[in-house]
């Protein structure tokens, strides 16, 4: 879907979402168990410019991460983000012990690598200054040379433009171990009504492998008010909404998920939201 940039972000498709927010590591990810994405096929619904998608692909041991967003401009920016993240990543050929005057002395491993000892040394994500890509152009991405390579960043992440609630993407056929839905439920709910939301939950269920996990960060009902004022259609849809975020757990249970595992609340002010994990049972 080609969405022009001078319309309102009625799908939550904000431009510059991440550049205007503090982002070192996504705080929502830090709430999750470190092994949740290990060797997993992951779908990130509403990936925006792919910052979270790339973080999962780079630092959480995921086998394959697919980011999907309804807005093509954001998807293109996500490909760029992948390139930027790659351009800052430490060369894989580095020796284990850096020299004394090496700029980054402390080998601060990412959370995942501390527990996944069987992994080879994971290259540090923000090794090169951000200015390098800017001054010298991005680093080229060589082809993956082995199956292992293919499941490592940057080869293990890709992006699609699609209205995923209503349309398949080719990758769905392979199914997923984890589906991530951060800050997206409000927009699906407002745009598609209760029916649209249920459809989304059904879709998530169908693309998850048995025992697969649905990581949901739902926006709270109070935040719908401002969003629905954005657009006449949203305003209209909002009137007929009967489901509330408190009902999500019940609806998901009816579809075939276990009870919610509340892993915590993060964010500040209007962005404080719970993050819940649902396991596909039925």
């Amino acid at each position: 879907m080609n969405i022009s940039s001078n319309t309102q972000p009625i799908h939550g498709n904000y431009r510059g979402y991440y550049t205007k927010r503090p982002f070192v590591h996504d705080p929502r990810l830090t709430l999750l168990p470190t092994s949740i994405f290990k060797d997993a096929r992951v779908l990130d619904v509403g990936c925006n410019e792919g910052w979270v998608t790339c973080e999962i692909a780079q630092s959480w041991g995921a086998r394959r991460v697919i980011g999907v967003d309804i807005d093509d401009t954001l998807v293109r920016a996500a490909w760029k983000r992948r390139r930027t993240v790659w351009s800052q990543q430490e060369p894989a050929t580095h020796e284990a012990t850096p020299a004394d005057d090496h700029p980054s002395k402390g080998k601060k491993r990412k959370k995942c690598s501390e527990e996944c000892h069987e992994f080879p040394r994971i290259p540090r994500p923000e090794y090169f200054p951000a200015s390098c890509e800017h001054m010298f152009s991005p680093l080229p991405i060589p082809a993956a040379r082995s199956p292992e390579d293919a499941h490592t960043f940057p080869h293990n992440v890709m992006f699609y433009t699609a209205d995923w609630v209503n349309h398949d993407i080719p990758e769905d056929a392979n199914q997923y171990d984890v589906v991530v839905a951060f800050s997206i439920s409000k927009w699906i709910h407002l745009n598609g009504g209760d029916e649209g939301l249920r459809c989304f939950f059904h879709r998530v269920h169908s693309v998850l492998l048995p025992g697969g996990k649905f990581v949901l960060e739902p926006q709270e009902w109070e935040t719908y008010a401002k969003a629905r004022r954005m657009d006449a259609k949203l305003k209209e849809n909002a009137k007929s909404l009967q489901l509330r975020p408190e009902d999500f757990e019940r609806v998901l249970s009816e579809i075939g998920f276990g009870p919610a595992q509340h892993v915590g609340i993060t964010g500040e002010g209007g962005f404080r939201r719970p993050v819940d994990i649902y396991v596909k049972t039925g």
Binding site: D72, P103, P129, A130, M158, F159, Y160
Partner: protein, 511 residues
């Protein structure tokens, strides 16, 4: 005539150029001049004590840029500035000089007027800068005449208030002395992403609660690799900042290390912490730059070596399940043409590389020449119109890239050049002469694929890439293909016609 009081000249490493002696004699202003300046600076005086308005901030920005323009480093780096100051007995510098020569002011667009600078200085830097109406005629200054200065009369001049012979102190400094005081910083919070913003932010992060005006000496924004000389670089969240004092450098590097420390360290700069602000000494930054460049070179070489063993990158083959490395056997049937979608970063299969073009030719000639691939019996094929999207050629080269509208067009061109051996006899030869089969000078064309293709398009501006994708999408329907007369298809070959030998050349790429 006010003599400068020389400050103690100390060793550069211990130099405290920010410790200024107050100027013993302040210039006495003429009543008339005061009135004029007052009239002009009325707005500044009525500034309230409440929240700074946007125009207040903009005004403060001008003051900051003026301060930076008169730092010890500015004087060290620009001998002409120093001479201009020396030429004036009281050390004043015409504002017009700064507006046209200062790296901080001269590239502003629109260029601020002298009046607005005066207002800004009086409102925000009055304690550190003297500003008055021009007393001496600029035409007598040594620099005059080399730059076009509009206002000969009615201009202003400015000087640093507290002197102390900064020139003498830093005169014999080397670039190394300044580099030792320079740090690289990144993840600058969004609201501070400008030179004045960085100046403000940096000062809040210093240990002293009231740092010297001259604590920050230089702020540089690294240019983009596609920037032209005249472009004003944009702040993308990082910058190089030079300090007067080594202690300040050590302090900042210690509190904002490259490997980020967990919270709890410093409550100052909470915002900076949130955004992941971190710093690095300039020498270490330079070392990483070099490492980046040599790594980049290695990657390019690796890609060139592996050209024969290209793994289709996942986004190009949507139908693929798990990506495993594949080796195409020799002489396998021609693979299906790549699909382009709206999310393609570039149109795949539309790039052709041609060697042995005449170095003195030009894009127009090449366009005419290669468009012949779409002519049948001297009749231009309708589907061939606009086949050539762009001729990427630079004079002096004997190669060029051609961007075609669709993969089908790319195939036709390659097949055409392979079956019709031609060469260019001169720079203006737009027809091409027949060349014998073994002629090394005949055009050699090949489809650019895989990572080589990706690399090429990566250098193309995004907007142009988008247009190419959209164009390919619009024309990729099979309908446009069937517009070609059957004869043309037979002559040039349909896109999926069986066994086209894949060229497997090893080519050394220039990094």
């Amino acid at each position: 005539m006010f003599p400068f009081i020389p400050r103690k000249v100390s060793r550069p490493t211990k130099a405290s150029i920010s410790q200024q002696q107050p100027h013993p004699a302040v210039a006495q202003k003429e009543p008339a001049e005061m009135q004029r300046v007052n009239e002009l600076s009325v707005a500044a005086d009525t500034k309230g004590k409440g929240k700074a308005t946007k125009s207040d901030l903009a005004e403060e920005d001008y003051a900051i840029l003026t301060i930076l323009s008169l730092s010890e480093h500015a004087l060290w780096a620009d001998p002409e500035l120093r001479r201009t100051m020396d030429f004036n007995a009281e050390g004043y510098i015409p504002l017009s000089y700064l507006l046209h020569h200062s790296p901080y002011l001269s590239k502003l667009s629109p260029l601020p007027s002298e009046v607005s600078l005066v207002k800004a200085i009086r409102a925000h830097a009055g304690d550190h800068l003297d500003v008055r109406v021009l007393v001496s005629a600029p035409s007598r200054a040594p620099w005059y005449g080399r730059t076009a200065v509009k206002e000969d009369s009615g201009g202003f001049e400015v000087r640093r208030k507290s002197e102390g012979c900064p020139v003498h102190v830093v005169e014999n400094w080397s670039r190394h002395d300044w580099d030792a005081r320079t740090i690289y910083m990144e993840c600058i919070p969004p609201h501070h992403r400008s030179i004045p913003g960085i100046w403000r932010l940096t000062r809040t992060l210093l240990s002293s609660s009231s740092p010297s005006t001259w604590a920050v000496q230089v702020i540089t924004l690294p240019p983009h690799h596609q920037d032209k000389e005249t472009d004003q670089p944009k702040c993308k969240g990082f910058a190089l900042v030079t300090f007067a004092e080594l202690e300040d450098v050590t302090y900042i590097l210690g509190h904002w290390p490259w490997d980020r420390q967990p919270a709890g360290q410093d409550l100052d700069g909470e915002e900076a912490f949130k955004y992941g602000f971190r710093t690095l000494s300039k020498p270490k930054w330079q070392a990483l730059n070099e490492e980046y460049l040599s790594y980049r070179k290695r990657l390019l070489e690796e890609i060139a070596e592996n050209e024969d063993e290209e793994v289709p990158t996942p986004r190009e083959t949507h139908a693929e399940r798990e990506p495993t490395p594949q080796q195409d056997g020799p002489d396998t049937s021609h693979p299906a043409l790549p699909n382009v979608t709206l999310s393609s970063p570039y149109p795949p299969g539309c790039l052709v590389f041609v060697r042995n073009v005449h170095p003195e030719t030009n894009k127009t000639t090449l366009r005419t020449l290669f468009s012949q691939a779409y002519v049948l019996d001297s009749v231009s094929l309708e589907a061939g119109a606009d086949a050539l999207d762009y001729v990427d050629f630079n004079k002096g080269m004997d190669t060029c890239y051609l961007r075609l509208a669709t993969p089908q067009h790319a195939q036709i061109l390659v097949d055409y050049l392979q079956s019709n051996r031609k060469k260019q006899t001169s720079g203006l030869d737009s027809k091409g002469a027949e060349a014998p089969p073994a002629d090394k000078k005949s055009f050699a064309a090949e489809l650019v694929e895989g990572t080589r293709e990706e690399l090429y398009w990566a250098k193309v501006p995004e907007k142009v890439r988008r247009q190419a994708v959209e164009k390919a999408l619009a024309r990729s329907s099979s309908d446009s293909w069937s517009e070609l007369p059957a004869k043309a298809v037979a002559l040039h070959g349909a896109p999926d016609s069986g066994e086209r030998k894949r060229k497997r050349k090893r080519r050394k790429r220039d990094a």
